[in-house]
Each structure stands twice: as structure tokens, then as C-alpha cells.
């Protein structure tokens, strides 16, 4: 799979976690693609932390409204039944436990569910934006990312970059498999048949617990 295929593969698997009626916030990058794979028979609403629910697809060039953008700053649209609000309302929704799920990328994530995704000291300092509120408030936190970064594991025993949230991650989805954060550690519940369990473990610093009923990731 090329990078594009990997991202779609991961996004599609994350989309399978969605349930009818869910309210979801997607981070920028890979997580944004999840919206493309929502099942036809369910109704999912996307929240955009810059100020609306009912995030629609990117508009055609001919009907761009500079007043309607995504949290990534790109032109967007609002679906029927959506509405606009201010930043305090937006984060009342996020912090107040009204989001069923947030899907975010990660620089590092560890077996205790700790997440690091907002800075590499002295190097990359984008800032946390809404991520710290999202992981603090969403009912379910799903990490959607490529399994490794330039061959180096991103799923660690313990994150060493500045933390975005302590013990907040529920599920990790990568092109290699699906991992659940549990009291006992990371449980590999699904595996991409292109890989062996050994290969996944090799690409993962944290020790994986293999689910008894390990399934194929499709």
C-alpha cells in the first residue's frame, strides 16, 4: 500500500467504529478521511471545533464561502441540520462529554493510553489546539495513524514527548492492526493479513497482548 492507500485503509477501519447518531470530531490529516467512509445506513454528525456541527464536504471552487472553514483552515460547507457557534460553546460540547468520539493522530502513544501529539521540544511546536480538550472530554478517543514513523515505533512502553493526555486513549488503529488499551496493556484485536503478529510486534515497542479471538482487519 502506498501512503494514500494506507491512510484510506486506516480511515475506513476507524469509520467502522461509528454508530448511528454519533457526534464525532476528526483531527486534521488522516483522521479527516474517516468522514469519507461512514456507512450509508447510519447518521453521524461531525463537529468542527472552530465553530459548528454538521461539517460537510469541501465545496467546489465555484461556491467557496470564506466564512465557512474547517478547523484546518480549508474551505468547508455545512449540512442541513448543522449550526454555527462560538468557541466557548464548541468546547462546552467537547469538554462537557457530548462528543461520542474523537479521532486524532499521534506522534507517540503508549500502552497506558498516554498520548503525545502536540510538540517536539525545540523542533516542532504546533501547539495543542483543541486536542487536550478533545482527549479530556470525548467519550472515546481513537488514534488513527501510520504504525511507525520512518521505521521507528510510535507505539511505546512510555511516551517521552510532552503529553497531550494521560491515559486517555481507548483504541489505536494503524495499517498493521487494531489495538485496544486495557488495564493489562495493549491488546491486538485485529491484524492486517498482510502482516504477521511477529511483524506487528517488531514495529511496536510496547508488548502486545494478542487477543484470543484475533480477527482479520478489513
Amino acid at each position: 500500500m502506498d501512503k494514500n492507500q494506507i491512510q484510506d485503509f486506516v480511515a475506513k477501519r476507524v469509520a467502522a467504529e461509528l454508530k448511528d447518531g454519533d457526534l464525532v470530531n476528526l483531527g486534521i490529516g488522516l483522521p479527516t478521511r474517516v468522514a469519507n467512509f461512514v456507512a450509508d445506513d447510519i447518521n453521524v454528525t461531525f463537529q468542527s471545533e472552530n465553530g459548528f456541527v454538521g461539517l460537510g464536504p469541501a465545496p467546489d471552487d465555484s461556491c467557496i464561502d470564506m466564512r465557512i472553514v474547517t478547523a484546518g483552515g480549508t474551505p468547508s460547507s455545512i449540512l442541513p441540520g448543522g449550526m454555527f457557534f462560538d468557541s466557548s460553546t464548541s468546547f462546552s460540547i467537547i469538554r462537557g462529554g457530548h462528543l461520542d468520539m474523537t479521532v486524532l493522530g499521534a506522534l507517540q502513544v503508549d500502552e497506558k493510553g498516554n498520548l503525545a501529539n502536540y510538540m517536539i521540544p525545540g523542533k516542532m511546536v504546533p501547539g495543542m489546539g483543541g486536542a487536550m480538550d478533545l482527549v479530556a472530554g470525548a467519550k472515546q478517543v481513537v488514534i488513527a495513524m501510520e504504525h511507525t514513523q520512518k521505521g521507528n515505533p510510535k507505539i511505546l512502553k512510555e511516551v517521552n514527548l510532552p503529553i497531550t493526555g494521560v491515559g486517555v486513549v481507548d483504541l489505536i488503529v494503524t495499517e498493521m492492526g487494531v489495538m485496544k488499551v486495557t488495564e493489562e496493556g495493549l491488546v491486538l484485536t485485529e491484524i492486517n493479513p498482510e502482516f504477521t503478529v511477529e511483524q506487528v510486534q517488531e514495529a511496536t515497542e510496547a508488548k502486545l497482548i494478542i487477543a484470543d479471538d484475533l480477527k482479520e482487519m478489513v
Binding site: F84, S87, M124
Partner: protein, 218 residues
């Protein structure tokens, strides 16, 4: 009594060293014309409170490039490499704040509240040096209110008494900042007569607004 002034008069309200709040999210809902005039003006040693530092060539991002800030309080600076450079070189003090916390801090500043009690940032760098409050056995971070000398806001339609109606995702921090500064200047896409706005759809009361400047249509 009209609050409409020329843009140069608006710039004259801002002094070197002032704390300014600027509405907008990646420049959507930012008073772009005022900011451009502010770059032109060469005002310096300002402190910026804004969701983000936009892009090098748009909105407050231009002021970062022009080195007009000695301090920046924002939730995200990753879209403007110049902010990161100045942060890493120590030239500009950059305080990264979770977006929802920033929104509540500004709201508290305008609402006579003593601070914000949030779980966002617990166990992260954000918590460092902050007063903690224990409530029924749970620890909360106390985040202090923010206020500014001048708030620079955007409005889609603004009546001459300063009532603001917003369209799209432009509300963001504008509504909150309107209450939290000693002087409040709004850049209007369209200025209308008092009485022309439906009182049920105005979001920022004119009582908060000191001056209005005619902006460009987006």
C-alpha cells in the same frame, strides 16, 4: 450616535506595549484590514491573545513576521513557522494554551469570574506552576481570566451602535473577546443602520463595542 471611525483612528487607539485580543481562527473571522493597517503602523512590544498565529502572509501571522509581539498567548502556532522560530530562539515568549481553556479564560475575563476550573491539561506541561483546586476529591486546574487593552473583532453585519451578527464559522473567539477588553473595535463586512438587525439574531451586544471600522467583503 454612530461608532463608525476611520481605520487610522482605530490604529491610533492601540499603543506600543498593549495587550491585544484578535478574533478569528486561522484568519477566518479576523479583522484583516485592521491587522494589515497595524502591520503598516509598526506598533511594537504588543502581547497577542488569539486562537492561533495564522499564516505568515495572512492576519496576525503578518504581525508575527513583522516582530510586533513580545508575547503570544495562543492554542496553536503550527501553521506559521515564524512563530516557532521566534519561540525557539527565545525572541518571542509563546504561551501555548488548550483551545477550550483559552476560550473560557477570555470568557471569565469578560464575565467577572475568578477563573476557570478544568480537567483539560491534567498531567501535562499545561498544569505546571498552576494553582490546583480539589473539589469532592477531584483535582482541577485553575486557569486565570484573561483581559486585554484592545480587542480587534470581525463582524459580518454590524449596526452603527455596534450590534454584531455573524455568518459561518466566524463567531469563534469574537463573541468572547467583545466582553473582555477595555476598548473594542469591530471590523464590519457590512455596516447597517440601527434597527436593521433582527434583535433575535444579534450575537454581540453593541454595548460591548467601542468603535466600528468598515472592512472588505470576504
Amino acid at each position: 450616535m454612530s461608532k463608525v471611525i476611520e481605520i487610522q483612528e482605530a490604529i491610533d487607539k492601540i499603543k506600543d506595549g498593549d495587550v491585544i485580543m484578535v478574533g478569528g481562527f486561522l484568519a477566518c473571522g479576523t479583522p484583516l484590514k485592521i491587522i494589515d493597517a497595524l502591520v503598516e503602523s509598526g506598533k511594537k512590544d504588543l502581547t497577542l491573545i488569539c486562537n492561533d498565529t495564522s499564516y505568515v502572509d495572512r492576519g496576525v501571522g503578518k504581525m508575527v513576521v513583522a516582530k510586533q509581539f513580545k508575547k503570544i498567548i495562543a492554542s496553536h502556532v503550527g501553521t506559521n513557522r515564524e512563530t516557532g522560530n521566534q519561540m525557539n530562539s527565545g525572541e518571542t515568549e509563546v504561551v501555548l494554551v488548550p483551545q477550550g481553556t483559552l476560550a473560557e479564560q477570555v470568557r471569565a475575563g469578560g464575565s467577572g469570574l475568578g477563573g476557570v476550573l478544568t480537567r483539560t491539561g491534567i498531567g501535562t506541561l499545561v498544569q505546571e506552576g498552576k494553582q490546583m483546586v480539589e473539589i469532592d476529591g477531584v483535582e482541577w486546574i485553575l486557569e486565570k481570566p484573561l483581559r486585554a487593552d484592545v480587542a480587534l473583532l470581525y463582524g459580518t453585519k454590524v449596526d452603527k451602535s455596534g450590534n454584531i451578527y455573524y455568518e459561518g464559522s466566524t463567531q469563534n473567539f469574537n463573541i468572547l473577546m467583545a466582553a473582555a477588553a477595555d476598548t473594542v473595535i469591530v471590523e464590519a463586512e457590512e455596516i447597517v443602520e440601527v434597527g436593521e438587525l433582527n434583535p433575535n439574531i444579534v450575537r454581540t451586544p453593541g454595548i460591548f463595542v467601542s468603535y466600528i471600522v468598515q472592512g472588505d467583503v470576504l
